[in-house]
Every structure is written in structure tokens, then in C-alpha cells.
């Protein structure tokens, strides 16, 4: 269906389109026809790539949960509805619209703790992170920054500085940011020098998320096998 293979590739404009019927019909026919082709192409591409894209997302999430919960044998997805956590989204509610937390178990089915995500504006833009939490001891298990756009070389240390990230291991909530932690108080987090705002953002995200979800998390646990 290619046009006639004419030799000119220069500047001669294309001849005026032959209008077989009334112009309106030609317009509708062209746009409609193209719309159908476009729709087909997109739907094909979408269905072909959907499994890969979902697998990628699941893999990234699983890796993050792995890191903050210390390699759980398996984990459950729970939805936050009001003040409690439920295993199954209530009828009529789209699960994708609900906030999720993940409950990790060891191989012997004992509970490790929850993996919770949180976000808040930082220095440049929003900082998103995931952290492990054990409500039985009010202990933050570990923290991992998922998304940040802080200043490279300075603010991005909240993600790349392993010492800072390690500060959150087994820290007791609510966390307090200090300039010089002496290691005796488990609630204290040693902030990065010169990166006050980004450091404070990480601490604030965890504290605020726990303030909001803490009761729901604590209430769910007694039912779980220890």
C-alpha cells in the first residue's frame, strides 16, 4: 500500500487529496481509521509488555522488603482500611488505591515485622522510603530510601552513605535526630554533617508514618503466631 515510487524526493508538495465524497466523510474516515490502527497498536503493546512490567515492579518491591526485613521467607500484603489492617480489600474498593504494608515471616512462621512505606517532601523534592518495624518492641528494623532527588554528593548521602543507613538498624521509635550520637540511646540517629534537612526528612517520615499507622500495626500482631 505504499504510494507510487516516484523518483522525486525534493520539494514538490503532495497533490491535493482526492475528495471522493463530501469532505466531512473523508475527515471522519481518516481519523477513525487511524484511530483504530493506533488503538490496536497500543493495546497489543500493552498486553505484550504487561507481564514483564508487573514482574519488574514486583521484583523491585520484593528486593526492598528483603532488605528491610532481613530476608523473610515469605510476606503477606495487608491493606490499611481506616484504623485497622485487613488481608482482603473490602468489596467495591480497588486494592490499588489502598495503602499497603507487608508482614514478613521467618522460615519457621514466626513474625519478623512489618515493612512500611512513607514519603514526605525533602530538600529538593519528595523522599520515598521503606522501613522495617516491629511493633512489639517499637523497633525500626532497617531503612531503605526508594526515591530521592536530593543534591548529588550531599543530600543523596541519605541513600548512599552506608553509615547513615545503618544508624536505623534496630533503632527504637520515636526517633530523634542528633548531631553527635554517643551510641547509648537507641532512639538517637546520628545525622549527616551538612545534610541536616535531608537527614531530618528521613527521620520525620518514619516518625510520622508510625504515628499514623502504629496503633493499627500493634493491634494486628497479637493474632499472629509469635
Amino acid at each position: 500500500m505504499t504510494g507510487p515510487a516516484d523518483g522525486h524526493a525534493g520539494s514538490t508538495p503532495a497533490p491535493a487529496t482526492p475528495t471522493t465524497g463530501s469532505p466531512a466523510v473523508a475527515l471522519i474516515r481518516t481519523l477513525g481509521g487511524l484511530g483504530v490502527i493506533a488503538g490496536l497498536l497500543i493495546v497489543v503493546a500493552y498486553t505484550a509488555t504487561l507481564p514483564r512490567i508487573q514482574a519488574n515492579k514486583a521484583r523491585v518491591l520484593a528486593a526492598a522488603i528483603d532488605e528491610v526485613l532481613g530476608a523473610p521467607a515469605r510476606y503477606d500484603t495487608l491493606y490499611v482500611v481506616g484504623d485497622s489492617l485487613v488481608r482482603v480489600a473490602p468489596a467495591g474498593v480497588d486494592p490499588a488505591a489502598l495503602e499497603t504494608v507487608y508482614l514478613g515471616y521467618r522460615a519457621d512462621s514466626s513474625v519478623i515485622g512489618f515493612a512500611v512505606t512513607g514519603a514526605d517532601p525533602g530538600f529538593s523534592d519528595v523522599v520515598r522510603l521503606i522501613f522495617g518495624y516491629d511493633p512489639r518492641e517499637s523497633r525500626v528494623l532497617a531503612m531503605k530510601v526508594l526515591e530521592q532527588k536530593e543534591t548529588p554528593g550531599l543530600g543523596d548521602k541519605i541513600e548512599k552513605d552506608t553509615t547513615f543507613v545503618a544508624e536505623f538498624r534496630n533503632a527504637v521509635a520515636p526517633l530523634k535526630g542528633v548531631k553527635q550520637a554517643d551510641g547509648t540511646d537507641s532512639t538517637e540517629i546520628d545525622m549527616i554533617t551538612g545534610v541536616t534537612i535531608s537527614s531530618r526528612t528521613v527521620i520525620r517520615v518514619i516518625n510520622q508514618t508510625l504515628q499514623r499507622l502504629g496503633p493499627a500495626l500493634a493491634a494486628t500482631l497479637p493474632e499472629m503466631p509469635r
Binding site: 514526605d120 517532601p121 530538600f123 531530618r200 520525620r204
Partner: protein, 192 residues
């Protein structure tokens, strides 16, 4: 309320659409030679941006939940139609304003700032109010960048620039200095 304020300040200054996010560079480079035209283009942009953000919010909430892959096409169609409608409405309601804005209105359709606004708003999942504040802030930031650049260029007309340097490269470097200046806004209004 604090959140809305942060969105407004962030999109206007800290993450300025033109100088930080690189959106809307075509009008920035093309329409910034006079302060008056820059200001008018900025106003037209704010207007279209606010309307677009409302339309996009409605699109996302009611229609696109079923077909996320049609997002891009529907955004483009909405933007093109909105610009067309706004142009016709202004022509009818205020011929003076229409003459003043002139050819800038149709140019807004290919302005990547509008599409960028739609995409960012969707990715961040803003509510209607947040989206409108985002659009107002973004548009104000765009206008600010345009007017700043225009005032520099007007002064530049009187300066003695070597002939070899009178090209787009100079404008880019000036834009780089502006961008550097705007980096100073980082941290504004962030919670202590």
C-alpha cells in the same frame, strides 16, 4: 494547608518548570526577547495550565482508571482541544485580549510544559486542589523565568557583544546562570 503551600512554592521556585525541569524551553528561547511579550505568554500559559490540570484530573479520576495506556493520547487531545476552545472563547469575550495575546495561544499546544504538567500531576497522584496549586505555581514559575530572561535580553541589546558570540549559545549560558541562581531556593519551606 502547609502541603498546598509547599506545592505552590516548589513548582514555582524550587523546581521551576523551565530552569530546573527543562519544560517549556521553546517559548523561553523564542518569546523572551521583550518583557511585554514574555509576560503575556506567561499569562496565557497560566490560564491554559490551570484549565488543563482540572481536565486532566477529571480524566484520570473518571475515565483513565479503566485504560491507563490511553493516557498519553487522551492528554494530547485534551490539551489541543482546550487551547482551541480557550482561543475561541477569548476571541468572543475580549477581542482586545485576543489581539494582545495574538499568536501565542496556538503555540501553547506544543509547549512541553503543559504536557509535562499533566504527566507529573498524574504520576504524583495529586488531588484536584493540589493539582490546581501545582498548575498555578508552575505557570507563575514559567512566567517568572520568561520575564527574567526577557529583561536580561533587553539589556543585552545595548551591550557590546562580539559578533561571533551573538547566537543562541549566549542565551543558553545566561539561562544557566539563572538556573544556578534558582538552585538557591532549595530547602525553602521544607519542614524543619
Amino acid at each position: 494547608m502547609g502541603d498546598l503551600l509547599w506545592i505552590l512554592v516548589s513548582s514555582a521556585l524550587v523546581n521551576n518548570f523551565t530552569l530546573m525541569l527543562f519544560l517549556g524551553l521553546c517559548p523561553f528561547l523564542g518569546v523572551s526577547s521583550k518583557i511585554e511579550t514574555g509576560f503575556r505568554m506567561g499569562l496565557a500559559n497560566i490560564f491554559v495550565m490551570v484549565l488543563t490540570s482540572i481536565a486532566v484530573w477529571a480524566l484520570n479520576t473518571f475515565i483513565l482508571v479503566k485504560a491507563p495506556y490511553l493516557q498519553l493520547i487522551s492528554f494530547i487531545v485534551v490539551i489541543a482541544s482546550l487551547v482551541q476552545i480557550v482561543e475561541m472563547a477569548i476571541k468572543k469575550l475580549s477581542p482586545a485580549l485576543f489581539r494582545a495575546l495574538g499568536i501565542y495561544l496556538p503555540l501553547i499546544t506544543t509547549n512541553c510544559a503543559i504536557l509535562g504538567l499533566a504527566i507529573f500531576q498524574t504520576n504524583r497522584g495529586y488531588s484536584l486542589l493540589e493539582a490546581v496549586f501545582f498548575a498555578i505555581g508552575g505557570g507563575l514559575g514559567l512566567m517568572l523565568a520568561l520575564v527574567l530572561m526577557a529583561s536580561i535580553r533587553e539589556s543585552l541589546e545595548l551591550a557590546d557583544i562580539p559578533k561571533a558570540a551573538r547566537n543562541m549559545g549566549l542565551i543558553m549560558i545566561l539561562a544557566g546562570s539563572l538556573s544556578l541562581a534558582f538552585m538557591g531556593f532549595a530547602g525553602l519551606f521544607s519542614a524543619t
